[in-house]
């Protein structure tokens, strides 16, 4: 199963269909499909075509610049990189345990980001597919169409995201690319006015998040034939898990399960991540393919993100989200749910949890404290791991005695899902495209499978509905046969 449809035996005899770029995702990627004369699918690949190079060009820079510099990887969830880098550098400056205020302020920043990113993905990027259908009228299958047909839903999507961005602004200094987190702590606490401003709206935010869970739950359960099987593949899954097995986005230890939910490893200090995870390079993509060392690259790949996290934890600490998690687990029937479209359901459960945690934190007076920084015995190497909106994010740095970075290794969330996304795309191609005339609606099925993972393909750029989709069918000799374009 793993390598089926990855490489065709005789590609030179096949026609090539390319979805380039994939739309309504973060970043730039493309899908290529090789078909024979009967439109039978022989090869499907999700390619990541951007090259970023951050790991290289931060070498030789002073370590204290890194949390601010590496967050430029992404404009959607820069807080993830900002915090993962800070956590790695906490180890280097000897700040193994932050002050309560610093840890809570960082957590607030991160949960604000989780809220805004999940809202953006669900409402702006995916709700057109989910509310109108995968091959519905393309002129309405976008956020503007959602705003016209479901104005209240669209408005809530905008306001949920705005609230998350405000949480980031008051903790990081800016809505995008702030500087709040520094090695050893944070540089600002909240003022009473900032806290009270957020408290005014948080109860709406929680209610709207609950409604969003119920909306996607209804969509999912009304069409189980589609939602439980679309793009399905079985795989291992991984996330960090907090104290006592709680769902935790900010801190914890690594836990992985196999496709049946059996624990593969647990309570792993992420400083030792490279004893457990290795990355494979494939010539056709700039994105690496990570896998569990103990299982090997053929069967050791895994998925991360909401679907992994919600099923990997033992419980969620906040009441509304925990109730929704139980409903989801009951629906899954006692074994892990692997359907990619279930990512949407679990993502909304996470958004609800983020909103509830934000409420709890806003009632904690530690947020107003000025006890923000610690440092201790200097180390030369550190690893920081965080659960970013899209999944587990690793930052690993080494510094020299002059405080300059000598090595950086980043495994971003979407990289962890690389093989998983390819598998989902292949399943959809087999199920929907095999033997059929290619249409825009059918190709959107491929994109729907990719979008479920909320990939940040370059972890750097994004485009919303503006990216033209061009599909060309070309004979093996290069003769154009058929083309479709979406302006």
């Amino acid at each position: 199963m793993t390598y089926q449809l990855e490489t065709a035996a005789h590609p030179e005899t096949l026609r090539r269909v390319a979805i380039d770029p994939v739309s309504r995702v973060e970043g730039h990627g493309k899908v290529t499909i090789l078909l024979d004369e009967q439109n039978k699918v022989h090869q499907v690949r999700l390619h990541i075509v951007e090259f970023r190079g951050f790991e290289k060009f931060i070498q030789g820079r002073p370590y204290w610049e890194v949390p601010v510099m590496v967050q430029r990887l992404c404009g959607i969830c820069p807080v993830s990189h900002h915090l993962a880098a800070s956590k790695a550098l906490d180890v280097i400056v000897g700040a193994r345990k932050l002050t309560p205020a610093a840890e809570k302020l960082r957590r607030l920043m991160h949960y604000g980001q989780m809220l805004q990113s999940h809202a953006l993905h669900f409402f702006h990027l995916c709700s057109p597919d989910l509310l109108f259908g995968f091959d519905s009228d393309i002129t309405k299958r976008n956020i503007v169409g959602v705003a016209a047909a479901h104005p209240e839903t669209a408005k809530r999507g905008v306001l949920l995201r705005k609230f998350g961005q405000e949480v980031i602004r008051v903790t990081a200094g800016k809505r995008v690319h702030g500087t709040g987190s520094v090695p050893g702590g944070v540089n600002k606490s909240l003022t009473v006015a900032e806290r009270d401003e957020l408290l005014k709206d948080i109860y709406h935010i929680i209610q709207w998040s609950r409604d969003a869970v119920h909306l996607i739950q209804q969509v999912h359960t009304q069409d189980p034939g589609l939602y439980n099987s679309f793009g399905i593949f079985r795989s291992n899954f991984m996330s960090i898990v907090g104290h006592g097995g709680d769902l935790d986005f900010y801190h914890g230890t690594l836990r992985a399960r196999d496709d049946n939910g059996r624990i593969l490893f647990d309570h792993v200090d992420y400083q030792d991540y490279d004893d457990y995870i290795e990355e494979e390079v494939k010539s056709w993509s700039y994105m690496k393919f990570p896998f569990f060392k103990s299982i090997g690259k053929e069967h050791g790949w895994y998925k991360v993100g909401p679907l992994a996290r919600v099923q990997n934890c033992d419980q969620i600490s906040t009441p509304f989200a925990e109730a929704e998690r139980r409903e989801f687990v009951d629906y899954a029937g006692g074994s892990p749910m692997h359907a990619p479209l279930a990512y949407h359901w679990t993502r909304m459960i996470e958004m609800l949890h983020a909103a509830e945690v934000i409420k709890e934190l806003l009632h904690d007076d530690d947020l107003l404290s000025d006890d923000l920084m610690v440092q201790g015995e200097r180390a030369m190497e550190g690893v920081g791991v965080i659960e970013a909106p899209r999944g587990t994010l690793f930052h690993h740095y080494r510094v020299d005695e002059n405080d300059l970075i000598t090595m950086a290794n980043l495994i971003v969330s979407t990289t962890n899902n690389n093989q998983a996304m390819n598998e989902a795309v292949r399943h959809v191609a087999r199920r929907y495209l095999h033997g059929r005339e290619v249409t825009e609606g059918l190709l959107n099925h491929i994109e729907v499978a990719i979008r479920a993972f909320d990939p940040c393909l370059s972890c750097a750029t994004h485009a919303l509905g503006k990216m033209p989709l061009q599909v060309e069918l070309v004979e093996a000799d290069g003769t154009p046969v058929h083309s479709l374009s979406r302006a």
């Binding site: 002073p62 204290w64 610049e65 949390p67 601010v68 200094g173 520094v182 540089n187 002059n402 300059l404």
Partner: protein, 235 residues
């Protein structure tokens, strides 16, 4: 005995020996500048403080004021020239404001905002300049050097150490450290030196301290550079 000249049509008093820049600063009028510092002998090299005196271009930091002078500063023509000079400074070095510790406290950045610089306009040089991290307390990031020579003057004239110098000629001019190894760690430079306090950009930085001051609380977050002319020595 007090005299006056006009600056953009307004009378400005001066005392004998004052430059146009000194008289304007004393009167609370901002003239953009980078290499000028009230505590040091004018250098006249950055040319940002160029004004027109009786119709002729001159550096206001070196030109002594004289009674009856007609000085133009805030005109579209002169600001366009200042903007071009600023753009050249940006492309000659590697100025990545988003990850620079000096962002918000940087005179080059603040001057660019003041002049309405919207883009670098010119092709970047992308020079390959390594940082000097050899000193235990101070990092030198040559990527951001604008050759104002303030550190050279401060180290030589105030600290009496002569740690820095400008070497090379023309476009190859660059800041060096006066040590056999060329490394700051091999000099007697300290954080307490005046030269450690005067850099208008982000070349001379205290080590292991980054982004300690939040966005919104940095010097030019609070007021534009034109409103802080009288406190330019506070860097």
């Amino acid at each position: 005995m007090s005299h006056t000249f006009t600056l953009d049509g307004k009378p400005v008093p001066f005392t004998e020996g004052q430059t146009i820049m000194q008289a304007a600063s004393a009167a609370g009028i901002f003239i953009p500048h980078l290499c000028y510092h009230p505590e040091f002998k004018p250098h006249g090299s950055c040319k940002l403080c160029t004004v027109k005196v009786n119709g002729r271009h001159t550096a206001s930091c070196t030109m002594r004021a004289a009674a009856g002078m007609v000085v133009e500063s805030e005109t579209e023509e002169i600001n366009a020239e200042r903007r071009a000079l600023t753009q050249m400074l940006f492309v000659e070095g590697n100025h990545f404001c988003p990850s620079c510790e000096k962002s918000g406290n940087c005179q080059l950045q603040a001057t660019a905002y003041h002049l309405g610089m919207m883009s670098p306009h010119y092709d970047h040089f992308f020079p390959n300049r390594a940082v000097d991290a050899s000193h235990p307390e101070v990092l030198l990031d040559f990527n951001r050097c604008i050759l104002c020579s303030l550190c050279v003057r401060a180290s030589r004239d105030v600290d009496g150490k002569n740690v820095f110098a400008l070497s090379g000629r023309g476009i190859r001019t660059h800041l060096i450290v006066n040590a056999r190894s060329g490394k700051l760690g091999d000099t007697d430079f300290t954080l307490a030196d005046k030269a450690a306090q005067v850099c208008p950009v982000g070349v001379i930085l205290k080590k292991r301290q980054g982004f300690a001051v939040p966005i919104g609380e940095r010097r030019f977050d609070k007021a534009p550079i034109s409103a802080t002319a009288e406190t330019t020595e506070e860097r």
